[in-house]
Symmetry: D2
Subunit: 281 residues, 4 copies
């Protein structure tokens, strides 16, 4: 049995020794360990991967760990490697990120299940079909927004979705949905945040005359485009590039930056703290 | 005689033919030509470098060009290659950009004269001495600001300065100075603008948890950190970097991005339009 | 009528003036001009885009230009914008570049026709079908290579193919084919050439312990992986990356670097000289 | 007392637990831990930083660790944080890297002592003087090479030098010197190795027509430019760049890539294995 263990707690002496020693006594072999201390808040973070003989059950591990955690006021989660997370994709009209995620998925690059795709348009239906993934067309208008989100939440529950990817989904996700999936909704924003938050970042970048454009994948919080950043990348542009050119160049960034963010989340390499991500690589 | 010619005018048919033909009739050989049309405003921009037999004088060229320019409502400037521009450096306490510019200058990388360095602190005096450049310590306080800028302007006039580089000069330059040097004051800002404009960008970047930091060289306008961007570059960072680390990594960006911006300006490769730069490379 | 004109000739005075003036007399409006002089060989290169009233025919333009070209020993080609080039794709088992090119094609990002896909395996058949493009499975063995290439050439002729893209085609293209498509076969090599030419570059990069990996798109010549480079890009790696990781990271580079190279070729922005490319952007 | 501990040994279960537990029993608090397993060779690498009460002496720690190490066939080294390493700089005529290192040193960016600078030319004498660092001019000719290296080794011994930086030192360092400073001589090569190893890489890059140039800092081994790579970076170039331009652009890369490599070495973040570096960041 292979476990991935994520821990955070107030920083104090002996945590690493205690945890690694506990794993050792359970017959575990640590194959990965990384830790980080947020000095400002004196908070300790650790990520471990450990292999155990299958004699040990996850429950046995947990019950053992439960006795040790309180001493250090640990918050912790344990993931069994075999558990492949279930990812829902939300998309609107722009389908390049959807296409990119699905081809990475079908090529085995992303170790995830994709039980469904939800869209406020029907444009992506054929792509979903092409990859044999259930597609749900849920239009969203001011009037129907609440009702639409109820449908979405019902589907997410029905398919036991673990996290959601907004692959250029052009609707604002409401508090209700965010609260049910805290740090479990990944969005791609087509600018290097915090620059050009909100609508039409390429137009704003063109108007400002920047020499680089970027993309940002981040967890969705109540504050639009202000959630914890997972990954960012940029590319150079010049005065010769029209808005159309920026949009075309940006598509490649969006695809890669979103895919990297999703991959890190799937592999449980991200932890969120103080509206930032700790990314263990 | 080698001339660099910069032109902009309303876009219309035949400009390039007319100009290149004019140069041809003056016995000029065009060794560089690049042009750009701003579609939105239908404005035409062109940069040429042309070699002439020394029989032709700059005056002869100008008087000839004067007759041709009005037909196209051209705004134009001509630079004789031999004229090395005079650059003043303003600096405060952080001296890494000053150091970098001076070593590029002394190695011959920047084809420029540096008649003086002005600082609101005396810290850089020894560096100026080391490179044998006159140094003027002009302290600036709320009370003395106007008087201080009068001293600065007097010195800039006395030394016939063509343009000014703010090498981490931590004072806001007032309208009076900007008006006398329009698009001739280059500042380095230690973030990828428009993100983190204003004070302490590295602290803000740390707080926001960005995964890239950047630097921006731009012409100074009345709006702080909102002038035309000349050059930008970025570098990746992670949660493990403290503010101190960001500042250290950023220093390298600041040096390079400022040096590139200055070099482009010295070589008359930049034109400013609608608060953007056209950079001919 | 819009024409793209590519010229190269021995460098000499007055070329630009003469050409632009000629275009002007034909009622053309130059919307793009860029030029470059290779100092070593004193060779002049120019790219122009010019709009003409449709009264003028391509033949009229050509016959006029014919009289002017010899004076300067010009080599020149003229392309009518409406002519969309025909691109054949060769592929083997790895299909990520094929997928990427086809999705850019179907989204209208690449202004090209794709009359056929040729592969030495049948794996890509379904992808071709999905995009409704004729697919030809032509197996290649030592014994059948000559015969296979005859089939390929017959198909390329039948479909009037203008240029060929090797999208991770794992067979060496023989002199016969190259001679019929000089500087018209684009290959993607999965390293930053000249490093790691030949087979298994990711394995070689892993063994060497490089901290960056790259990809290179280039025109195919008789010397394997030594043709004129069109585009290159890199990404950072570390000791933690396995060969499998390098291959995964490299896929994104390969897709982007090949797509950029193909786009530049389609837009007639590349010229080849002395086994290098001049890329007008 | 703060210790940095570097360990490598055959990979096996329980190492991390044992080591961290040992540190815990010695009253140490681990503030940094990172580990890596080379799967191919089943070799384990670990880097730890741990704080101890000053009651514990380095000797006590070592004698304790000695009893534990053999069980796992550990190779290990321990560094007391207070010990600032002594770095010798070798330089020839190009002084941009020397300048850069010295200004980082004088600004406190590099936590190192620089007891001496050795050069086969006297050009850098004034720079050394400017930073108050002893300078030794040791000319090297075919005839005097052996003798010259004896002088160098004598000085390195006299000044108790820990490691050597070749800041564009244009002489080949002989086996004798390398043997005395294994993985303790850092060179900057002005290309992205393995491309363009050997002399005049910028000329070779120009001739090949690459679209990126790079720099590489690496440990010096008997095989020229084939030692373990510490750090690499690149920048884009185009057909418009002359060899002179490549050299100018490259200088910035060389400075940064060497400085990064030196910083990693100073902070004991590098381990060498199978002619590669493991870089703990």
């Amino acid at each position: 049995m292979k476990l991935t263990i994520l821990i955070n707690c107030p920083d104090q002496a002996g945590i690493i020794g205690t945890v690694t020693n506990f794993i050792h006594t359970k017959g575990g072999n640590i194959v990965y360990i990384d830790q980080y201390v947020d000095k400002e808040s004196a908070t300790f973070f650790m990520r471990l991967e450990s292999e155990f003989s299958n004699a040990l059950t996850l429950n046995e591990f947990n019950s053992g760990f439960k006795t040790l955690a309180p001493t250090y006021q640990m918050k912790w989660e344990v993931h069994k490697e075999v558990t492949v997370p279930k990812m829902a994709i939300f998309v609107s009209k722009y389908d390049h990120c959807l296409y990119d995620l699905l081809s990475r998925y079908s090529s085995g690059e992303l170790d995830v299940d994709i039980p469904l795709i939800i869209s406020n348009h029907d444009k992506a239906q054929s792509i979903a079909a092409q990859f044999n993934i259930p597609f749900y067309h849920i239009p969203v208008t001011k009037a129907t927004k609440i009702e639409a989100e109820e449908k979405q939440l019902a589907l997410l529950a029905e398919y036991k979705v673990d996290f959601i990817v907004l692959a250029r989904y052009m609707q604002i996700v409401s508090q209700t949905v965010i609260d049910q999936y805290p740090n479990k909704i990944i969005n791609i924003h087509h600018s290097f945040l915090p620059a050009f938050a909100g609508a039409k970042p390429y137009h704003a970048a063109y108007k400002r005359g920047v020499k680089i454009i970027g993309a940002t994948s981040h967890y969705v919080t109540a504050d639009l485009d202000e959630g914890p950043i997972i990954e960012q990348d940029v590319t150079t542009v010049s005065h010769t590039h029209s808005i159309k050119d920026l949009i075309a160049k940006g598509r490649d960034l969006e695809k890669i930056v979103l895919a990297r963010g999703v991959k890190l989340h799937i592999e449980r390499k991200t932890m969120v703290f103080n509206n930032k991500t700790i990314v263990f690589i």
